[in-house]
Amino acid sequence: MSPLSLLARLGRLALGALAAVGRVALFAISTFTHMLRPPYYPREFALSLLQIGWLSLPVVGLTAVFTGGALALQIYAGGARFNAEAVVPQIVAIGMVRELGPVLVGLMIAARVTSSIAAEIATMKVTEQIDALVTLSTNPMQYLVAPRVLAALITVPLLVGIGDVIGIAGGYAVAVHNLDFNAAAYLKNTVDFLEPLDVISSLVKGAFFGVIAATMGCYYGMQSGRGAQGVGSATKSSVEAAAVLILAANFILTGVFFSL
């Protein structure tokens, strides 16, 4: 391959990537404008709150409790190398609240909610239900997309908050029952060490991750190709995009909150 054709190929790839970013950005802007103007669909919104928030609690809770417990064991074992076993409560708290809580909840939401939204909307697309909505004078952006993204914006920060608490509780349980930490001292160290900014950053990350997860599910669902393969491809792409964007957003938000 000549240098010129290689350059042309790279250029096409770059243009394609930029066009994709542009399409997603326009979709996100359109979603937010549709959230603000009537008609509103309270039933769809309530169902989305249930699906995204309430029904995600078990998987979020289990992820957080096991991660908190494993974190306590790791910090204890690692800290023992330089006589720093006592920092387990502080590191579990900061690790869960600043990083692991929001990121793991975000990724679990990407796995559970993004895939579900993408598959549902893609199936509606290939079975002409989206066209049927339009012919029934109902805007799919307002009926399908806006309620889901708004529900994720509200519920995922709450899930992150709950995940943070359960993760710390997991670390506490392991530290107190397996590593002989004093229960009261563990709790005091946890509370004393956490700062308001830690909690705020966790919840703000949750809001961003929720919007990313729901928007990617809706976007890829609405863009789905035909047939079962189209639905499968939309679902796979939505989860991949949501997971990568959540991790990238986490890096940027961590920088904004703690390094600037």
Partner: protein, 257 residues
């Protein structure tokens, strides 16, 4: 000087072109459907029948040409008011899986300009279900619990729920056995006549054509090859139409497209 006092056709398509990539599906389609008549468009798979129908509704934007509904350009004015004039039966029913049957039928009656109280909307839905031959106990079932024929009937009930002036039927008998196809064809004919609606149907099914149509148009190579009354179908002398209605492999229409 005399002026033409005849009303404009309910639907007029002038020189519609639509391509998907290099595939030029419609290549200057012209068609006129008069008010209160039942037009059936026939043609092979992939000849653009659904594209033509969806273009009228604005679900697909033509690359060129103009579409008029009741003498006004389609898509001009209030979109909701425009769409409220239409009902559509989709090929697969396109019922909303998450809603019970009655909410599917009453969907348009529960929101927007045509919104009614829930009790009234449910009563209308049950009446429309009865009109298409379904009992009221179907109302609270979900679409997935119904047979293909029942789903088509529910789709038909939804299409007529708001008593539209224009009804589109996209392959209304696809996937149904001959008896159920006959039932759906008869229902469509009865309902269209009873409501005085303008109907546009696309199908491959010649029994549907003869049961539903006042006028038949044949779409091939992106243009209307023949249009005329259903009574002239067998004496058209058009080689494309003859091949299609008799299902012959030999003729001007290539079997492999």
């Amino acid at each position: 000087m005399t002026q033409d006092q005849s009303p404009p056709p309910m639907i007029r398509m002038d020189g519609i072109h639509k391509a998907f990539g290099s595939n030029r599906v419609l290549r200057g389609m012209d068609l006129s459907i008069s008010r209160g008549s039942s037009m059936v468009i026939i043609g092979g798979s992939g000849t653009g029948k659904s594209v033509a129908l969806k273009s009228v509704l604005g679900l697909i934007k033509p690359d060129a040409g103009a579409i008029y509904v009741d003498g006004k350009p389609a898509g001009s004015g209030d979109r909701d008011a425009f769409l409220a004039r239409f009902g559509m039966l989709f090929q697969g029913g396109a019922l909303f899986d998450s809603l019970p049957v009655w909410k599917n039928v009453a969907f348009r009656l529960q929101r927007g300009a045509l919104k009614r109280p829930a009790d009234e909307a449910r009563a209308i839905a049950i009446e429309k279900l009865r009109r298409v031959g379904l009992k009221s106990d179907v109302a609270d079932r979900f679409p997935a619990e119904l047979s293909g024929g029942m789903q088509k009937r529910v789709g038909l009930a939804r299409a007529i729920a708001a008593e539209p002036e224009i009804i589109f039927f996209d392959e209304p008998t696809t996937g149904l056995d001959p008896i159920m196809s006959g039932v759906i064809n008869d229902l469509i004919r009865e309902i269209v006549v009873e409501m005085g609606a303008t109907a546009m149907t696309i199908t491959h099914d010649m029994s549907s054509v003869r049961a539903i149509a006042d006028t038949v148009a044949m779409l091939h190579d992106g243009v209307i090859k023949w249009v005329g009354p259903v009574a002239d179908l067998d004496q058209s002398g058009d080689p494309y139409l003859d091949q299609f209605i008799h299902g012959r492999a030999e003729g001007p229409i290539e079997a492999v497209r």
